[in-house]
Symmetry: D2
Subunit: 345 residues, 4 copies
């Protein structure tokens, strides 16, 4: 298997670290450039001692210099950068002929106005919004295969969209009644020296945050609306939980069909999806079964007393919710089997 | 202050341990009997080294022998026993003239049929159901003062009822749209040698459980229905989270009034409640602020996009959700100020 | 009981927070001033929502202005400041007639040269070193009673000194063979926005740090040398462990007497000490029994195969290891019973 | 690469689970039999939902029936059984021609008398003790290659032996002064429904245990004595720490050479060892860098003030401390490169 040369921009945050982990172990990828302003000049293994002595971990981080990235021979670039910064580099890399997998929010929305509404800034590269493919492989797999710019979805959206989309397509739930409660591990907040993210502040603590209008609602509702064929607005309540990794989402909505149709819609949609594990009715997905993997586990249940359907999903926020999903898109873009480099548990 | 002599039955579980902690430190209570089948003959401080050298901690546990409990001089008995067992002892203790604060589910429901429906057993003492007072002091304070049998509510119900009751009374939300998602610390599952509760199984894990019809729904809906003046059925999704103590509940419902009315209803209901802290709109209660206390923190928010009201509450499952609340009822029953023995943080 | 007016300087770190907690609940203390550069103008209950609605928690933080501290009427000042800063304020407060309990390292050493050697700076107020009393109440209780300046010991030293001092005084162990391994909860590292202290970095992590010459060795060896009557040098290895609170220390040394003498030395030294709980031989102290208290639990064991004595101790780094111990000194200085305000578990 | 057929006996504990994980992902092994009394009849993926949908995870557990194990075609058997039980099955499997990698303590000691002394039972198969090879690949690699019975070392011994052996061989430390303090994650205590291992009991807790004569001392001292060429007796203090996985060991001893010799002894011994990462002087190994891997990270430091050498090591108790090490021996026994199936981080 000949390796594709890849670059990782913004490689020293938690998502960047997970990309490094997956791509160091990927049999058909070779990291030729990894950028990090704060760690430029230091080797990957110095910054991440966990990866020490792995082939490729001696590569030094460089400044985010696009000339150097291109010179490294990389043909695919992963961007694990803050929103705003990602758009700027993506533009330049696309011009230079690289394919780009962006893990920021910059290209996930089709409408620049929605971006401005939710992110409070004018979109830095609105022309690219029509080029970008929303990188949810189970939904947009074909478009991803041909894409030059993939906007890889965030962790909350993935955990909410995958259970809901098949049901909205079939009209099996009432979209006006959707309420999603998500629990996130602390790595989802990023690797920033914020006092609220200190061990002592997060340990033995549970709390909601980011209410009532989390930024990720914009992409969630965009994709749900497409699936439903009409505008969908939902309530979304994220919570911060003292685990390192994981998203556990519970979504409720009024059931408008029967449970058998729900099961059929989910099973037929995902029967060929390597990473969606349908646990069936009655099972409660546990994040400990998906951490450090690219799996998302999904269960469902009918609350007959109220008529609601309960949808339960668990994924790793850094895996299927970020880096794993991006590598899954990379596999599709380069014609590799889905599980390549993503098969370990 | 003369001390009331109290007994604790089933004192070696987590709720029992918290009762022991609170009552050892209570300036107007003296533990004269503590029962535990598995620890009979051992001193409190042997079983709970944390309490070693505190006055009263040398008391030995005894078998659950009601004669001995009465002989100890106790006039109030706290029951921290499994449902079923509690009813049996309560009957005997009431006959002997003690007042009983039962922390099990045995006397929380007014209808024996509902008990049978949710607990799968014929109620062991249906005659007492009309005698018992549901021990939520903020709602039934006057009845508690005079009660001979208090059925102290569970941890989930308390966290759901206190935010909702004032709003249902005023008709400010649509009861048919209530969805409650609760996150519980592991002590809520009790001190039993269940492999699913091992450290390694719970740590780095998040999952829903007990779906779709948790037993506590019965008492939650009973009290909500009273407040609403009509039958209320809700969706309730509990989750198990790797913290020792705490309940974090997020409840959503369609708002049928305005936010000012919500605030007014909450503030006027709880203005004299020592243990309800209203954080106001925009604040997200964090369990770390209430662990090992009897406080419940409540916040709220209007999701204008969907018309839903978000109600957020945090309490300690063993505190306001169990032992603290029981001691609060004890204070009311014995004419003490609310905060007696419950003022430390 | 008339309350002594007290000031807390540097009240918004973890030690400061614990001081606030203890002194808000202290029946013979009233906080009249609390300083915090970063939180000046905000009320205590805003910064620490946990303390909300407690009497006294409405007090606003002020800038560290010594005039204002004096004007508040405080007669005792607790200093929870970085070393260096503490010395400066202490000097000023002592001049103005306040008694000072300093929780920093500034006045713990009797020799300015040792300070310079271990802290890398010239001592800022060497004249006060002879005035200061090392605030270990079980060892220097009488001097503390009369002291104007108490240098309250750190968390590691307390856990190492209390088991060792009685044995060194009696010549029961060989001081040249002392090795102390300590495990500390993360709050011991302070409330600073250091990436190494983020939840994700500390959770599921265990590591030694600060080798081979931790600053606290200076005060440990000073006090051990006094007890032994000769110069003592030890090996000390601190480790960072993912718990919020607690120090667990295991100290080994060659036994030079018999185990009965060890037990006698410990029991006779601490028979009147409210906060030292001697668990006896064979018991292993667990930090969970001492967190949020002022207790230190001590066990010991003879490793007959090697001739070593094992000394095991557990305390709360913020309690007996910092704020609790400071309040214990305050009680002694103001003639109160030891346990005043420190009796809750 | 043709796969070797392997059996796992006792596959449903934590070590068994890790063996299943590693061998399901091993490119040159195929699990043909997995035994578990409590789970016989259930598929691997039912018992371990984490492994669901991986090739091979549909295999059902069987009762520990050696005929069935042989019939499965397995030529190598991994035994993750309690001591005592392991010996019995090992004897039978060896007779039937399988090679056995035993992860219990049954064959780690060369002397049956030592076994009886430390384990309190007559050795069940003393004749095999001379056949067995102590499965520490960095020390006994050649013997492992040819072995029919490998006694794979425990987690504590591995973390203590690898840093010490090169130094004892060269006489660089005084063996009489060795003190090892180890911190273990809770999975090291096994997957048993012991109340002391409940989440609530272990979380926010740190404590020593198993003093003063942990069973693993027998194998530690056996191997240290061999390295030193004389009888070595050490002090060993294990502690239980609230992490799932990991061993962090700090060993101290009086240095009898210079630091350069220490570094040379370590580097020359491990220069070709894939899984020993020498971090050098001044570095403190962190368990988070080795969890779920087969690496052991080693650092060292000279405490010049006392003349002691500090040796620091970190490994995963289930990885290099158990299942990973066993698979490493398997690779050696079957002529595979060291890293086969062990290369992921």
């Amino acid at each position: 298997m000949e390796a594709t040369k890849v670059a990782i921009l913004g490689a020293s945050g938690y998502t960047g670290m997970e990309l490094v982990r997956l791509l160091l172990g990927h049999p058909a990828a070779q990291i030729t450039a990894a950028t990090s302003r704060s760690n430029a000049g230091r080797r990957i293994e110095e910054v991440f001692p966990r990866f020490s002595q792995l082939p490729g971990s001696q590569l030094p981080f460089i400044e985010p210099d696009m000339e150097a990235v291109v010179a490294s021979g990389a043909t695919v670039a992963f961007l694990a950068l803050p929103h705003g910064a990602a758009a700027q580099y993506a533009t330049e890399l696309l011009e230079k002929g690289l394919r780009v997998i962006d893990l920021s929010a910059d290209f996930r929305l089709r409408e620049a106005a929605t971006y401005e509404d939710f992110y409070g800034e004018t979109h830095p590269a609105p022309d690219l919004l029509t080029t970008a493919v929303y990188g949810l492989p189970e939904v947009h797999g074909e478009a991803i295969a041909a894409a030059r710019l993939v906007a890889s979805p965030g962790c909350y959206p993935t955990s909410i969209l995958l259970p809901l989309i098949p049901l909205l397509r079939e009209g099996l739930i009432d979209p006006a009644t959707i309420v999603a409660n998500s629990l996130s591990g602390v790595s989802g907040a990023g690797r920033k020296a914020d006092p609220a993210l200190l061990f002592v502040e997060c340990n033995e603590s549970m709390r909601a945050y980011g209410l009532p209008r989390h930024r990720h609602l914009s992409e969630i509702e965009q994709e749900l609306s497409t699936a439903a064929g009409k505008s969908v607005t939902i309530t979304f309540v994220p919570h911060l939980i003292p685990v390192n990794n994981g998203i556990c989402t519970t979504t409720t909505a009024m059931l408008e069909g029967d449970l058998a149709s729900v099961e059929h819609a989910l099973r037929s949609t995902y029967e060929n999806s390597s990473f969606v594990r349908l646990l069936g009715t009655g099972a409660c997905p546990d994040t400990k079964n998906v951490t450090h993997t690219n799996f998302i586990d999904i269960g469902w249940q009918h609350d007959e007393r109220t008529g609601r359907l309960l949808l339960l999903s668990a994924e790793d926020n850094l895996g299927k919710g970020a880096a794993g999903q991006a590598v899954q898109s990379f596999n599709i873009m380069t014609g590799l089997p889905d599980m390549t480099g993503l098969g370990t548990v």
